[in-house]
Symmetry: D3
Subunit: 279 residues, 6 copies
């Protein structure tokens, strides 16, 4: 159950309304990495979550993002106000001005309607936490860019508040993932094929017009990875020997979500009987 | 420049075509976490990348995903074949049967057209690597579920091949991010507000019908985080003291992307002059 | 600011999970007339509303709809559960089963992602209240149909609860519109062209295969309306004499939203100086 | 069957083409509340309508809206013409200029493609009439705003013509709904739960930064409604006593659409045998 | 101006309603190649067309497609009827059953909402005629597949009527394009680069698992085309010598649309002064 | 299997970056007629194609379009660069600037995300070739307009290169269709109804404000077509005598795709036994 308190989580003020900047800000209201996307992603993950501790985390942050939606909406509304009666401002976003009456609307900065296609919800807790860490990183960088495009001090301060919260959430999601005590690259319940999983495939070769060329780095020659060239460029290609996947071979955590699939039952049961760590 | 070799990266075979399973497989062809989404996300990031080493990585993996698109497409096509002349099979996906002629099509498992709204491309290298790690985790879990829903051995093996590659890529993207030598939660060029960044906000409280209640865990009381209750539940609420954001305060890597914004110039310059690590 | 209480507004139980019915229920979670659509439509209207009394109304109902989203989500989750490991159930919605892990997702009953294109937000208070009355009527009829398609008693009861609330909201929005004391067809600030506004145009004529023919009814011959035949069928056609629109000619309410447009200023001022009715 | 007469329903002229205003006008061609949305909503409702009188009404207005689509399209085309060879004009809408050749296109004012997600078609006549009344109100306010953003006299006159028709249609749909002689809040065939239906839930409380606070008004304390506070704020919360829904308990009209659902048969029959009012 | 006559262009009857087939038929109502797509594509092209003869053609066919939309809609409605009270039928398309009340709706066979993204409208008459020829070919093949998936004789006959009209239209559009007397591959006003335009690039090579290999055919070695191998496979690659495009070098027809662009004026004038052929 | 070579197919240079023009160019990157649309349309058709010769053609061109995507993407990136730190440039496309970091993104010129709804893939080879011919014509005209809107010589040259390739492809697809040796209007396997197929229906009549009137031309009175007036305007209307469709009556080619449908078996067999022409 939700309750709304009329007080904003952060009191917004605007020196000089800047409708074109208000338009940019819509990115964080109805955009792909904006507050509604965050609120919905975490809250729906939370609704589906089987681990009560991390479900609490998801609901905590999902709800806070709703409060952020309201804060950034109030800020945008102040910046958009001139669209009500200034034809030049209205041209910056005719959808807002003509169809939306100059108010905030559930679109991004170019007027595309918000869509749930932005969300990443798989119903696997560890995977969803990975998605959330990345989502927070994206939201942080977008706020930072918005701060750089305005001169209004109070607007900058409000955005700094919102931006900071994304890092807090990134840390919380990371801690929740760490505390599941899964090996770093253990996803789900089936182990990847040995050997093949260590092969980095060199699918792009040659030298480009901007000086780009083939590079060797930790991502293709360290951490157990090794570089394999394509048959196309004289290499051996990837190992394609058939390997029969076995559910339950991957290291699972006691708080992992129940696996999906008709023949995973045993793997799921085994996981559920593991010793429960402190939430 | 791209070149296509008629040989598939992995030779697919199908024992008994299963059109309803073919439909499920479309999730990895034209779905949100499927191979085209992966190919496009990494390739477009690569096109925009300013660091030549990691650009090479992005193009390598982006191109490999195109080859996977072809593999999974060939597999799906074998499973969908009965839709050509079996009315019952056709009912499983009339869009494929009637509009698509029983062939593979750029839709997900419920016939929604692929959209670039699935992609996460911010133009910030570190953030994009975070997004890619999460994307690979999602692709892995979806392959695993598909494996569990089919009995066809050769289909399972093909999916195991594709699934394994996602873990390889997850490791490569993680290594690339690690090698940027940025502090774990350093995103962009502006430091979050001190104090506020440590406050975990307890926005969801009480006890639920399914036994859920308020939990304490590493995500709200460890790693420097502390739990703050809302004014609504008698707490102090978050610190909202204004804080003036300063570009250039966050720890940056020499291979970070150029920051965005009119007043970030100095921060960007400073970053670019740092000592370059081995790619 | 929002707060979440772990207790559901209505405690849901399910006798026998029915995954295909769970799929139908998604219509009220992520569908065009579902709870998120209602929550977002009213909350965003509320964020933009200039009249504090009716803003409170919009926030009250917008927030209650968020609680409904949670209730219907919990109900759906119980019905979808068999999708986790029953291949037949999974076929009913492969997007939910394979991509979503068998949990609730922000889609409608055929897997189309929720979109803000469902929302009707114009920033004109009276118009928005009209849209909300219609939205509640739609939500009511959809709940009623869902009740008719399930035999599970507790599911029926939960849907009856949710359905009832739509009628409550329909009454509240109607009362709020009535209390604005605007003439029934007064929208905005420009009067429609006299004469022309009374002409009902008979654009569809003849007799159809199913016995349909031209009808006369209150909608084309009463309430001041009169039936005009097209030039195509020998009639006079509509009056097209030019008429110069004048902002401020329509009857406005003191609590109407500020009108939009460069040359409406005077009309807006006049409205704002009217005597304020009791909220 | 449709027939097209080359003459426009209203002859449009333009003094000075204004491509940025032409862009705004696209809102009424390919926008959410525009003429195609109206034409399709009413025509498809008409196609499904079982009451021949109101079906005639729906086809009359649906067809007239097609004629309006053509009128507003002709007007837009005149305003967009400079996009053909003026780079500055082309920047106002590159989609129109570069992809569309400077002509009118089925998009809204920010270039989003028209989508049937805009439509509200439930197949229940009374509900659909509610949706149509609201749709006409929205179309009226959008035309009014467009009138305010142009100085071109003949453009204003054309928009006044189109705007007036929306009010005519709003009156006709209202008369058609009234003539169904249903109680004001009777939707479908199941009565809402007594008691619960009278409870207005106070889900948003407190005082906001802009002086907003809790209000009492006709929408929460009159017309049989009473204000209930949440458990969260010390109130009793809503009545959640189970109530078993009974199809056929709500007051129906003889011209209502056949109800939907496996166990509504009886209710539907009863309705169909009621005395038929004059259409 | 449009007029609607209640009589259908083709009287539809249905022996045994088949709701799952009704669902398939939606492909031609609200699908990508369906009747609304055709009606809108041609009518909007017609609205923008500068050549009065072919504008008449576009309006003739665009209007006929609207009549087809009504015919196919009436047919679908008869097939969908069981969705009203048969739970099994309702499962075939819950969106139609639950949200749409069992009536026809502006979606395709998998419930995706119709979108103007389906349309191909460039504002260049010759190009648009090419698009229309292809659109009619697509609509024909879809009707043919639908005929093959039903046993109902009267349904087959109705679809045969509609299918036949697509071929009529394909012939008419082809005749209109031929009568423009443009060279077969002359598009617009700029000639392609000589030499380069004759080079067919061999970007896919090798031998595939299904016996595919490199082929030579009229498409890469006849009609003036010659096969060029990529540098990747030891070939010369394409000619990339710079060539300065000159507007007005391509052969244009007197009835071509006005070209688009700031520096095309002269080319456009020359074209307009050519001798006008008989419409 | 795909391979990427770091060298661009055409080396791009830009004199003066022009971010608003870069925005226009996005139409050919992530737009409806752009390079990704072409690459995906042909490659997916190729994946489904049963004729090995024309499959090779589809893969050749599909792959070349991927290389074009990269070329146009590199060009756009150079033009967009000022969006990184110039607020005015950023206003031209806030989605690119704020969310995308000033890089190229999979959107069109107004920021709408790329969607597979742009694609035309029917799985019928002849029909798909028709669609491809039209697609190339559209891509050509869009490039030509872009050339006209820039003054930058090297940008013009790059676009001329890309534009030329579209004509090459249009020729190749046309040759491939011609070489199937099908009668010009033979689509699929069912003949259209004789008599009816020759009737051009005059659904738009009268005289318009811009001098338009009824025209006679080759499209309605030649090539075997004859003009039929509607019953509405005193004509006879179309022939609607029932005609029973027979699969296998249309002239098919030996390389046609297998027909779709339960009762087409015989027709398909007959086709497959025809003498195979030289690929």
């Amino acid at each position: 159950m939700y309750h709304h308190i009329k007080k904003l989580m952060y009191t917004v003020k605007v020196g000089t309304p800047d409708p074109r900047f208000g338009n940019m800000l819509l990115e964080q209201f109805g955009g792909a990495n904006g507050e509604l996307a965050a609120a919905m992603q975490y809250s729906i993950q939370g609704l589906n979550c089987e681990d009560p501790g991390r479900k609490d985390l998801l609901m905590d942050i999902g709800t806070e993002e709703l409060s952020h939606l309201e804060v950034v909406g109030a800020l945008i509304r102040m910046h958009l106000k001139p669209m009500k009666n200034d034809r030049d401002a209205a041209e910056a976003d005719p959808l807002v001005a003509v169809a939306g009456g100059g108010g905030v609307t559930l679109c991004n900065s170019v007027g595309s309607a918000w869509t749930a296609d932005y969300l990443k919800v798989t119903g696997d807790l560890a995977v969803d936490l990975h998605s959330n860490i990345a989502a927070e990183a994206r939201a942080k960088i977008v706020y930072e860019r918005l701060i750089a495009f305005t001169d209004d001090v109070e607007t900058k301060e409000a955005l700094q508040f919102l931006m900071t919260r994304e890092i807090t959430h990134m840390r919380a999601f990371s801690a929740a993932l760490d505390s599941m005590q899964k090996p770093r690259f253990a996803i789900g319940i089936i182990k990847p094929t040995p050997g093949l999983v260590d092969q980095f495939f060199n699918a792009s070769t040659g030298e480009g017009q901007d000086g780009s060329k083939d590079y060797v780095g930790p991502w293709n020659q360290e951490d157990g990875l090794n570089l394999i060239d394509s048959e196309m460029t004289g290499g051996t290609g990837l190992h394609v020997a058939p390997y029969r996947p076995q559910p339950g071979t991957e290291d699972a955590s006691a708080v992992d979500s129940t696996p999906v699939g008709v023949d995973t039952g045993d793997a799921g049961d085994r996981k559920k009987s593991s010793k429960r760590e402190v939430a």
